[in-house]
């Protein structure tokens, strides 16, 4: 290092700092175009909705929020939460064994299982809804099979109701439960279970006391993703619910398309967003946001 050269202290400190700032700014600017699109197209309009939810022709008002206490809306709220809890619960029950076996499978088997789990994710939402309509409707495949087999006489009401909606939503949400679970389980070293067995735990004890607690972060992440996605879900309930299952998001759509009631739609939207972000924030603090957003 040319340590013998004369150094004039402070001579170019400012120039150096400016050059550093220029470089950092240029690098940060690369994130701008995408950021600008997201901000202008998605975020600013939502701020606008927020503002509108507090406005009527007279100015500031809380009437849109007070209206949400109407029994109709409360019923929607109840349906939304019931459906979300139910779907999340079923996804947990199906997803845990699925992720567990996938995590334990050999390389090739695991790759195959992952492809099978990802297949629905890559398949169009509408295609999957259509498939369930075909299977579940009054004269659909399941009913005609059951009648042909003599198990039932009259067709079962499987779709255009709560049941059909729940089935369709589980189908869509299950991969989102499995993927974070699988990622977590893959990182659990088999040594832990070996150690437990070595220390005298029965297989069931080893699972319950060692494996299960270690997999909880993945389970929590999966539950949060599924639950939050369910809360705001629109397409499946709209198609498989057949107008008999009114979800929060459908109430929003209805207020915009049929009533052009932006005040009510905005208020509903703000509540939905606050609830969703609130849940994410709460659990994000527990398991870490990276796990939640990084899972898809």
């Amino acid at each position: 290092m040319p340590g013998a050269d004369p150094v004039v202290p402070g001579l170019n400190e400012r120039a150096l700092a400016a050059a550093g700032r220029r470089e950092r700014t240029a690098l940060a600017a690369l994130a701008l175009p995408g950021m600008a699109i997201i901000t202008v197209i998605a975020l600013l309009p939502i701020v606008w909705l927020f503002w509108m939810s507090f406005r009527n022709s007279a100015g500031f008002t809380l009437e849109h929020y007070l209206r949400l206490l109407h029994p109709n809306y409360l019923l929607t709220l109840k349906t939304t939460f019931e459906l979300s809890f139910l779907v999340t619960g079923i996804c947990m029950l199906l997803g845990y064994p699925l992720a567990y076996l996938t995590a334990q499978a050999g390389r090739r088997a695991a790759a195959l299982l992952i492809v099978l789990i990802l297949f629905p994710v890559w398949t169009s939402l509408l295609v999957r809804c259509y498939a369930w309509l075909v299977l579940l409707q009054r004269r659909g495949l399941i009913n005609s099979w059951l009648i042909d087999a003599g198990i039932i006489d009259a067709p079962l009401r499987l779709v255009h109701n709560f049941t059909g909606t729940a089935i369709g939503m589980v189908h869509i949400m299950l991969p989102f439960m499995v993927l974070p679970l699988y990622a977590t389980m893959r990182s659990i070293s088999p040594d832990y279970v070996r150690a437990a067995a070595n220390l005298g735990a029965s297989p069931m004890q080893a699972f319950r006391q060692v494996y299960l607690p270690l997999s909880v972060p993945g389970l929590v992440a999966g539950v949060i993703i599924v639950f939050v996605l369910c809360l705001g879900f629109y397409v499946t309930p709209a198609l498989l619910g057949g107008g008999n299952v009114m979800m929060w998001s459908m109430q929003i759509e209805r207020n915009v398309t049929y009533h052009s009631d932006w005040g009510a739609a905005s208020a509903l939207g703000v509540v939905l967003l606050v609830v969703a972000l609130g849940i994410l924030w709460m659990f994000g603090r527990i398991v870490g946001f990276d796990r939640i957003v990084g899972a898809k």
Binding site: L98, Y130, A131
Partner: protein, 272 residues
Amino acid sequence: MLSRPATETQITHGRRLWLYVVVALALVFLVVPSLLVIPLSFSSARYLSFPPPGWSMRWYEAYLGSREWREATVASFVAAGSTTVIATAFGTLAAYSLATARGGLARLIYAAYMLPLIIPAILIAIGTFLLYAQIGLNSTLLGVVLAHTVMALPLVVITVAAGLKSYDMNQELAARSLGASRPIAFLTVTLPQIRIAVASGALLAFITSLDEVVISLFVAGGNWMTLTKRMFNALRDEIDPTIAAISSLLIAVSILLLGASQLLQARQRTSR
């Protein structure tokens, strides 16, 4: 076979047969319904029955013969292609920027990029619809593409950022010490090495746009009526096996894209 131990704790396959049954049922539940659509699309009957009473191509002919369906298909693919280009370019730049930047601002920007994944789509849909109504972007290609880009950007950023994480940034320093400016170093050294991540991100962007429903319901229309919007309306009104034909084609596209993405990931693993 059943009596052989399956786990470290010597549980036999036989004793956890129930587990295999549950998992097999879950997999059937996940995969089979969508695949059932394919034989139905070749049915000769108008009503649903499985197996179909006879085979025909009439629903594919119906699909191809309909100007509305053809136009919607073209619109969807044009929108998906444009979305892919914009989202991949901007998303890659953003991921690079976030990988080189440090500190709180970078974390904040990353979080902002993830918002479209977290905010319920219906909310983005009505907000965008409201905005477009003011500036006349509803039912335009630009409007649909920008909205779809919003949804695709987080996925591209996540994928490319993951690619950059396993890439050694020293390579770019080396290129610069050898005389390349930063943009040249990025294009000649960094980009060729993260190309698989970028390609995976592009695939995700394409499928995201092609499958996007909720926002399209609000902002697509007219000449730029997307396939998903037309399908949604058709599904809500009456079920026509033409949809089975379209669905089968979409499933083929999905399988193609999923296969491509799995292939890319396999290549990434072996090239390391």
